[in-house]
């Protein structure tokens, strides 16, 4: 049996294709429903709330305000301390409801009633008296500090840090040329197809929370910390999750208000976000980089300096603190650039809060460095990839410590790039595009390279249970929610135990079942959760050998295992897997379980992606083709890995061309998909995805590096470059709108 490396079909498809999937809103639990009264102002003090009319509405049980619920919490969500240094931040922990609304949509009151329709009716009948306050919507305005989002902080700047390495001054002094660069991403909305939701039950001092989340154990910890309930009395259950992309590793105020209400009422309360609510509960990206590059005439990049400004929205979310701290570290990418200064500033604005979104900080860093490389190539009249080759870290320098101290574990970027050029037909495609352009077609080809950081320790949990019939349950701290990593983990375990994969069931996402866990994000699941499961498999196998040895009257060292058979060669005897499993549960010390909490570090996948675009006379860009060549370490399931490239690339197309959450004083303009353009099947390119035959494995037992985010990390840079190739003009931000492209065509 050899499952690793094969396109094994997803093990748990059945419920999804038959409609038996159970997402948060599908749970058949008797409960009250919640809806929220939201601020129509970007910044306003709540003077009073009159709920008397609302309470008269048929079926309404309660209306709570900040005064009712906030005293129930002793703390609130702040930055994710596992990864974010809280001491570097100025922030105010989020509360269930607010007395000072800081963005349009900030929840002011919660209405609870018997059904979704009546609570929505009652929301309209809650009369709130607001005192409007000066607001800061745009980053530039917030930086001026005239209107403060959080008065108590005394500033809108939540974070400010200089990331400095080498000697930037001297690098710029010795430059042949200094080239200005700019790169920015406007605001996106991760927008999983399933809007977020929560069901909270309070009973006898125990809290059960069904929650559309990527991080159930962190949620348990958060609720315990906020409400002062022992975590042992809290159970968080993650049902099927309909997409997350980072946005569901984030606690919204509404979650706290639902939990608080359920405790206050002693009833089960549920909230499923409408699409309008989902669109404001997590925004993403929104950052600018302005700086300059010092280069030598031969293309050697000597140094980079610049200012990175990151919009936080109105509150510091659990995950947004990652971006301003990680983007600078990743700006050098795969290139040997030692002299860098990035002044990173993160700013509060009166806008919906920003969270991480697929790639979080690597897409931003990659867009910046790849914009830099492409801009320099243009200015020096060099081939894009030739310039990159010139600056790449060499294989004999691996593991390579980048100027900010990140240690790139393994890889040979240069040889890989040469292979990639062949595989993606780099030169032929460029030549073909040029020929098409001479025929009058606006075709463009763009490539971009990425080096990303994934895996993200610090640890993950894996447990193997072999039951009395010899069937295997894998309990993982990872939280697969569409990626198919449950299947991939089963492949790893099946190979390790040399059993049929059909005997394996992978379970996750329930804090009462899974002893501990971090969750799925950061392309970490196969690497760290898969390796933990693999390690636990080995331990269980050792236990089985011990049992087999007793059955065979052998010493444990004399027992060999292969293909469901434990052999005692010397005596020519053997026992089968199932017999051992059965025997294990009839002995004095029964039980074939093993659990592992595996520590792990980051790892660095890399790749070259190419986009081919066509532009029509109105400036509308279509990505016709998308090609990817990646080194993601060992590939456990090529079909699943490829699927991640497809999906990430589609979101890359969205970021590069379509998606933009615009905001004005009245709030976010996107209240539905009519104003936020998530791409459809018509906008989808043809994808070709290759993984190198000679991957550099990570240090994880699985040898994997991760692929979940790769295409969204690099896609926007490749697509923007393709637009430049087609138009001969420069574009420094995402999305590139038809209007901007059109302007480039006529000027």
């Amino acid at each position: 049996m050899n499952y690793v490396g094969k396109p094994v079909k997803r093990l748990n498809d059945s419920k999804f294709i038959t409609g038996k999937s159970v997402y948060i809103d599908d749970l058949q639990i008797s409960s009250l429903n919640a809806a929220f009264v939201r601020s129509p102002y970007a910044h306003a003090r709540v003077k009073s709330v009159d709920a008397s009319d609302a309470l008269k509405t048929k079926g309404i049980v309660a209306v709570f305000t900040a005064k009712d619920l906030n005293p129930m919490t002793s703390d609130g969500p702040g930055p994710w301390v596992t990864y974010i240094n809280q001491a570097e931040w100025k922030f105010v922990p989020r509360k269930p409801l607010t007395e000072e609304a800081r963005y349009v949509g900030d929840p002011v009151a919660i209405v609870i009633g018997i059904d979704k329709y009546s609570v929505r009716d009652a929301v309209d009948k809650v009369n709130v008296d607001y005192e409007e306050l000066p607001s800061a919507i745009a980053l530039e305005d917030a930086l001026k500090g005239e209107a403060l989002v959080h008065k108590e902080l005394g500033t809108n700047v939540g974070y400010k840090k200089d990331f400095s390495a080498g000697n930037v001054e001297s690098a710029f002094k010795s430059a042949d040329k200094v080239i200005p660069v700019e790169a920015s991403n406007t605001r996106l909305i991760p927008s999983p197809m399933e809007p977020r939701g929560i069901v909270s039950r309070w009973e006898g001092g125990s809290l059960t929370v069904w929650y559309s989340t990527q991080i159930p154990h962190f949620a348990r910890e958060e609720f315990s910390k906020d409400f002062g309930i022992p975590s042992s009395r809290i159970r968080v259950i993650m049902p099927d999750v309909g997409g997350a992309f980072g946005s569901k590793a984030h606690f919204v105020a509404e979650d706290l208000a639902v939990v608080a209400s359920s405790i206050k009422l002693g009833r089960t309360v549920r909230w499923t976000a409408t699409r309008s609510e989902e669109l404001i509960s997590s925004n993403a990206r929104h950052n600018t980089f302005k700086g300059e590059v010092a280069v030598k005439r031969d293309g050697t990049i000597l140094g980079i300096r610049g200012d990175l400004t990151v919009d936080l929205g109105a509150y510091l979310t659990y995950t947004e603190g990652l971006q301003p701290a990680i983007i600078p570290l990743m700006i050098p990418g795969p290139y040997k650039i030692r002299d860098i200064l990035v002044r990173s500033t993160a700013v509060y604005t009166n806008t919906p809060p920003i969270t991480m979104y697929r790639g979080a900080s690597r897409p931003e860093a990659t867009f910046i460095i790849e914009r830099i490389m492409s801009t320099v190539a243009d200015e020096l009249h060099m081939d894009d990839l030739e310039l990159r080759e010139k600056n790449m870290v060499r294989a004999d320098e691996m593991p390579y410590k980048n100027p900010f101290g990140l240690v790139y574990d393994s890889g040979d970027y240069l040889s890989f790039l040469r292979e990639a050029k062949e595989k993606l037909k780099y030169h032929e495609t460029l030549t073909w595009a040029e020929a098409e352009r001479t025929k009058g077609k606006r075709i463009g080809v763009g490539t971009a390279f990425y080096l990303e950081i994934s895996g993200f320790g610090p640890w993950e949990y894996g447990e193997i249970r072999v039951d009395e019939r010899g069937d295997v349950t894998v309990v993982t701290g990872g939280t697969p929610h569409g990626q198919g990593t449950d299947t991939a983990i089963a492949q790893v375990v099946a190979d390790e135990l040399q059993i049929d994969i059909g005997r394996i069931n992978v379970v996750w996402g329930d804090t009462q079942v899974v002893a501990s866990g971090m969750g799925s994000y950061g392309s970490r699941t196969i690497s760290i959760a898969g390796s933990a499961a693999k390690s636990a498999s080995r331990q269980v196998l050792e236990k089985m050998k011990y049992v087999a040895a007793k059955m065979l009257n052998a010493d444990v060292e004399e027992v060999e295992y292969s293909s469901c058979e434990f052999k005692y060669k010397k005596e020519g005897k053997s026992v089968k897997w199932d017999e051992v499993a059965k025997a294990a549960y009839s002995g004095k010390d029964p039980g074939l379980y093993a659990s592992v909490t595996l520590e792990g570090d980051v790892t660095y996948p890399y790749g070259l992606h190419m986009a081919i675009v066509e532009i029509d006379d109105t400036g509308i860009v279509r990505v016709k083709e998308y090609r990817a060549y990646d080194d993601i370490g060992r590939v456990i399931n090529p079909a699943l890995a490829e699927a991640q490239i497809h999906g990430g690339a589609m979101q890359g197309v969205g970021q590069a061309l379509y998606e933009e959450a615009r905001i004005n004083d009245e709030g976010q303009l996107a209240v539905s998909y009519a104003e936020y353009f998530v791409p459809t099947i018509m906008e989808s390119p043809h994808y070709t995805s290759y993984f190198t035959d000679r991957p550099f494995p990570s240090n994880y037992a699985t040898g994997t590096k991760g692929v979940g985010e790769a295409a969204l990390i690099v896609g926007p840079a490749a697509i923007v470059r393709a637009i430049e190739n087609a138009t001969g003009k420069r574009f420094n931000k995402t999305p590139v709108t038809p209007e901007e492209v059109y302007k480039s065509l006529i000027k």
Partner: protein, 160 residues
Amino acid sequence: MVKPGEKVKIKVKVNGVQYEGEVPPRKLLVHFLRDDLGLTGTKVGCDTTTCGACTVILNGKSVKSCTLLAVQADGGEILTIEGLGNGKLHRIQEAFSNNFALQCGFCTPGMIMQTYYLLKEKGSEISEEEIRDGLHGNICRCTGYQNIIKAVEEASKVRS
């Protein structure tokens, strides 16, 4: 006439089963299916007729059940994802699984129902262009769509 706040009796046949229910006129068909009949396979994704997660077949036509009132289905016949394939997997369902045409699965029921309608209308000679034109009212955020196209092509070729 049903006054505001009153309920109206409706009869619908869903997946071959006759149901009777009382609904307020404003109740959306998707909520009737999900909350009253417990058929939660049909999902609510965007709320505003864009994403197609709520697609069902009503009287032989694919419709977005979040943009129809339950009362409008009175006397009608509905097929939802739960009713596809008569207890076995329908060839479209198999093709979606074979081709890795789903990830988080949330759009999948709507996508499969729209595919069912499309193949019913177009038969086995369906082109990629027709698949794209026929499915652009169903948004998937995970797959990038290529595997969905492959699945529909495969399903179109398999005789049921």
